[in-house]
């Protein structure tokens, strides 16, 4: 029997009053793959992820995660997925160890102490465990958020800007860890990022969003080739700056 995709999104739409934040998007994330969600500010990336994770109800459309309908049965799947975003924080006055312990309990992890020790070691958080969340730098907070999102060994992981505010060395190590995690566990990842090099390195497929719509998609190398560019960043700029260029490479690239 064919395995269901990790994520299946069909005709997903979100309107806030007259404003269309996400407009009729459809895509799938295969099991074990990493898909990048790219787009400028306000393109609809965070809104799409929030709907996939069940934090935001869509205006229309269907979302299935690990074979479960997220609109009807999200509690069947929430213990098997996780999410990290710089827009959400952990309680400031609790130490990192306390915060992680609470989330380990919420996910009902069998041996929380071992798992926390393991993840703290991997993400270089051991010296920070006794510090309050509110006293961390932005980069440290990003790493702690990532640790929280990996506590339950998720089968599907949604990451919004996972290396935001990290120095190049730490960011590189985090990317390496995420890549290994996916390879070793077969987990699927949805990655929203403004870092094109990161997306090129980690993602099998890329969804390009603009004004709530998916305007192009494909493997990073295919997109680069199709647009006749050298990097994904150049492709991103082409798409962002091409008026009415949805679903088509700019004229010069198409020739």
């Amino acid at each position: 029997m064919l395995r269901t995709p990790a994520v299946k999104v069909e005709h997903l739409t979100k309107r806030f009053g007259q404003v269309s934040a996400v407009d009729d998007i459809s895509f799938e994330i295969a099991r074990g793959s990493c898909v990048g969600l790219l787009g400028g500010n306000g393109a609809g990336k965070t809104t799409s992820i929030a709907m996939i994770m069940g934090l935001l109800l869509p205006t229309a459309g269907r979302i299935s995660v690990l074979g479960e309908d997220m609109l009807a049965h999200r509690f069947r799947v929430l213990s098997r997925i996780n999410f990290s975003s710089p827009y959400m924080e952990l309680p400031h006055r609790l130490t990192i160890a306390e915060n992680l312990a609470i989330y380990a309990e919420l996910y009902e992890i069998p041996d929380p102490k071992t798992r926390i020790a393991e993840i703290a070691e991997t993400l270089d958080l051991v010296p920070l465990l006794t510090r309050p969340s509110g006293k961390l730098s932005a980069g440290q907070k990003t790493r702690v958020g990532l640790a929280k999102s990996l506590l339950n060994n998720p089968e599907f992981l949604a990451l919004d800007e996972p290396t935001a505010s990290l120095d190049p060395d730490t960011a590189d190590r985090i990317r390496g860890y995420l890549d290994n995690y996916r390879t070793e566990t077969g987990a699927s990842i949805l990655l929203a990022s403004h870092n094109m090099a990161e997306v090129e390195r980690l993602c099998d497929d890329v969804l390009m969003m603009r004004a709530g719509e998916i305007v192009d998609r494909g493997a990073p190398a295919d997109l680069i080739g199709r647009y006749g560019r050298d990097t994904l960043e150049e492709v991103f700029l082409d798409i962002a700056r091409t008026p009415g260029g949805e679903n088509a490479p700019p004229a010069e690239a198409a020739q």
């Binding site: 934090l55 935001l56 109800l57």
Partner: protein, 274 residues
């Protein structure tokens, strides 16, 4: 390393409830000013009403007949107030720390969060009220525990009403955001004039008595006076308060769940702030 093996998801998990209680306990434990604040106001109120009682005892036959009536009233009112505040302030902590989004992508269910808020509200109320009640014994020769089992009934009736009001306030906070945080402090005081805490309910105009009898606290405070003045426990008042508490708890839960649904529609769980 392997991904988590799928496990059956429980509709209600005590482990998740106690995880949240632990989180609120860590917050409380980590701040001694907060613990002092919990005890401070009930104790100050008790001392003030204790002296008022000493003064009125010689001039008012009503107070002289049941010396502890004002002190018991103030302590019971604080149960209602602290019960509501303990529930609401713990919820506000999640909004201050923009943590609602993190919580609700976890398997935590709204009903489990409500159970955790109720538990921490009980703990906070006990921490706040017990020192005041104990201090009244040596200071004013009034032992509220001498009321016996009826006190337990009054305690839980008021605590549950506090939770119901807490649910209504948190429902409003979910809708209006942190801009409405003062609701946590003042909404409960709408009840004080009609709860007949310090005077019998028949002092109120008739139309206001109807309002009073549509809410549980008045039955508790009238019941308290029946115990202190006549030495009887009014089961009819108890039954009315239980019935109304169930209704208000249902209303609070419905409002909270509706607001939670609206918050998911409007993206407020993700935003969290103002």
């Amino acid at each position: 390393m392997s991904v988590t093996t799928p496990v059956p998801i429980k509709a209600f998990s005590l482990r998740r409830v106690f995880a949240m209680v632990r989180r609120y306990w860590y917050l409380l434990r980590g701040s001694w000013p907060r613990i002092i604040e919990l005890m401070y106001w009930p104790t100050i109120q008790m001392i003030m009403w204790g002296f008022i009682t000493l003064h009125l005892r010689d001039t008012s036959t009503w107070v002289a007949e049941a010396a502890g009536v004002l002190l018991t009233g103030v302590l019971l009112w604080d149960i209602l107030f602290r019960g509501q505040l303990g529930y609401t302030l713990s919820f506000l902590e999640e909004m201050y720390s923009r943590n609602l989004g993190q919580l609700f992508v976890s398997p935590l269910r709204p009903i489990e969060m409500v159970a955790a808020l109720m538990t921490i509200s009980l703990l906070r109320t006990l921490i706040g009220i017990l020192p005041a009640a104990l201090l009244a014994i040596p200071m004013f020769a009034w032992n509220v525990f001498s009321i016996g089992l009826p006190l337990l009934a009054f305690f839980f009736l008021l605590l549950v009403m506090g939770w119901a009001v807490g649910m209504i306030v948190t429902a409003l906070l979910l809708r209006v955001g942190l801009g409405g945080e003062s609701l946590a402090w003042f909404i409960i005081f709408l009840l004080i004039p009609v709860s007949a805490v310090y005077y019998p309910v028949d002092v109120l105009p008739v139309w206001l008595q109807w309002v009073a009898f549509s809410m549980p606290p008045v039955y508790v405070f009238e019941g308290m006076r029946a115990v202190l003045f006549d030495g009887i426990f009014r089961w009819d008042f108890f039954a009315a308060a239980v019935g109304l508490n169930i209704a208000y708890l249902g209303l609070g839960a419905a409002m909270f769940l509706w607001s939670f649904h609206v918050a998911r529609k409007r993206g407020l769980l993700l935003a969290g702030g103002e």
